[in-house]
């Protein structure tokens, strides 16, 4: 069993993973000010509630798009498990051919999700991850990571608009309205966020297919997917656990015991 942690810009998830399956998962807020000791205490609490003894964990792996939290996570996990976790960063074996200008610039979360999606679906692929940002990753028929798009996430965008626009309400609840054409402020904003993003995902898939010259399989993960994907006209496979699955795959590929061929 291993500990897998993904830190996003807003939220983070921790999973205790046994052979690619989650024994339990816990979500927590990304707090840039918390110390390693505070995070270790939090993780110990999650493990206790999940019925897992931290000492029984064989190792850990951490991906973080918040660079300043990488050393904090490393220390927290080491404190909890007694083993140094693997960090998702440049130099890690991923099995992906990354064909972008500077592969080291590619967000760790994009790599992790791509590794998991590739294993499950044959290329070419477009992978959407809808969180703080909505990212689109494009993998071609040869399995090469070709690049993608970074789009403001819908929650972040709606909240920013509410703050900037004098006549719009703050902290709106995003529920799908009955009609595309809204007839009050709240429904207009909800339709804009939900139908707008659904239309965008459909249109991006079409444009990527034209650029690649072949049809793609569409996969989506991230906390906001279930809100938007039901309104897409394209078939998009929802895969909520792609990040944790990808972290497990990367752990297997990179853990010393594994590479030395030692059986657990």
């Amino acid at each position: 069993m291993i500990l897998a942690i993904d830190m996003g810009n807003t939220n983070a998830v921790l999973g205790c993973m046994e052979q690619g399956k989650a024994v339990f998962t816990s979500h927590f807020g990304t707090d840039r000010t918390k110390t390693a000791d505070e995070y270790a205490l939090l993780f110990r609490g999650f493990c206790q509630r999940g019925g897992v003894d931290p000492a029984a964990l064989e190792g850990g792996i951490v991906s973080s798009v918040v660079p300043m939290l990488r050393p904090v996570m490393k220390e927290a996990v080491t404190r909890l498990t007694g083993k140094t976790p693997i960090l998702v960063e440049a130099g890690l074996k991923t099995g992906l051919q990354i064909q972008i200008d500077d592969p080291a610039q590619l967000g760790g979360d994009l790599v992790v999700v791509a590794v998991a999606a590739r294993k499950k679906y044959p290329g070419p692929l477009v992978i959407f991850d809808m969180g703080t940002a909505t990212t689109a990753s494009v993998i071609d028929g040869q399995g090469r990571y070709r690049g993608g798009m970074i789009i403001p996430g819908l929650r972040v965008a709606v909240d920013a608009l509410s703050r900037r626009a004098s006549q719009l309400p703050l902290n709106i609840n995003l529920e799908p309205p009955a009609h595309v054409i809204g007839t009050n402020t709240m429904d207009c904003m909800r339709a804009g966020a939900i139908y707008g993003n659904a239309a965008m995902l459909d249109g991006i898939l079409e444009r990527v297919e034209d650029e690649l010259g072949e049809p793609v399989t569409a996969v989506a993960t991230g906390s906001l997917v279930s809100l938007v994907v039901p309104y897409c006209q394209r078939v998009i496979h929802e895969e909520p656990d792609l990040l944790l699955q990808g972290l497990c795959l990367l752990y297997e590929k990179n853990s010393r015991r594994h590479t030395q061929g030692v059986k657990a």
Partner: protein, 262 residues
């Protein structure tokens, strides 16, 4: 000549209209703390710099989505031209049947856009205005205002993302990337924002047509429309002066009885 003023959440557009023709226009930053005296000084100064004689201005009209600034700009203009400009809102004749839940809640910029588009394009019309927010307004075949969508604007959204995401650059310039599939952080963000918006508009036009059961004329306005419309697959008429044309139309419609056009 009249003053037409559109107070948006980020910028104030001031146009000088003579009949249906735009003689000049300029922009000010929307500053919610400035006083009427400060705005009057600003308007006076910019007009004199651009050779506009305030004596030739017979009146004015304004649309505002920033309620706190509506009387401030009305006071400022009144102090310059001796006449209080009309503010688009309750009591102003628009000629549009507003078929929304609460017409008082409807942003006056969307009403003005719809007035201008109704006068120029075949109905039903899908109007997208890309500014602080990207608003979609739908005018039905019979000329009724049917409602629409409010989407976070491109600039506001991308700046909010930059502020939230540790590894993304701040204050990026929005330029059309040469390829759709970005291969570095900046080209990924530009592609995401611009191609994403274009894909969204195409899809929303199709969805609105489906809901109405008939094809629409698609019209785009707002500064960012210039970057997005060329990336759309649907044909959009790009009409950057839609709002100020609409304000001119509303000024004429609401001119006091007996007062002739100059």
């Amino acid at each position: 000549m009249i003053f037409v003023i559109d107070i948006g959440n980020t910028q104030i557009v001031v146009g000088l209209m003579d009949g249906g023709t735009r003689k000049d226009s300029f922009r000010l930053a929307t500053d919610r703390v400035k006083t009427a005296e400060e705005y009057a000084l600003l308007l006076h100064g910019i007009c004199s710099m651009r050779g506009i004689d305030l004596k030739n201005i017979e009146g004015g009209i304004l649309s505002s989505v920033v309620p706190v600034l509506t009387p401030v700009l009305q006071d400022a203009v009144e102090s310059l031209i001796g006449r209080r400009p009309l503010a688009v809102g309750a009591g102003v004749k628009t000629g549009l049947n507003l078929r929304v839940d609460n017409p008082g809640q409807l942003g006056s910029d969307r009403v003005v856009d719809a007035v201008a588009a109704s006068a120029r394009y075949k109905k039903p019309i899908f109007i997208v205005d890309m500014g602080t927010s990207t608003t979609v307004s739908v005018v039905g075949r019979d000329g009724s205002f049917l409602g629409g969508l409010i989407i976070p604007g491109l600039r506001v959204s991308v700046d909010a993302l930059s502020a939230m995401a540790s590894q993304l650059p701040l204050n990026i310039s929005l330029e059309t990337p040469d390829k759709m599939i970005g291969t570095n952080t900046l080209s990924c963000m530009r592609s995401g924002v611009l191609y994403g918006a274009a894909a969204m508009l195409d899809g929303l036009v199709a969805r609105v047509e489906k809901e109405l059961g008939e094809p629409v004329t698609a019209v785009a306005t707002g500064g960012l429309g210039r970057l997005v419309v060329p990336l759309c697959r649907r044909a959009f008429s790009y009409d950057p002066d839609l709002l100020i044309k609409g304000l001119q139309i509303l000024y004429e419609k609401n001119r006091p009885a007996g007062e002739a056009a100059v």
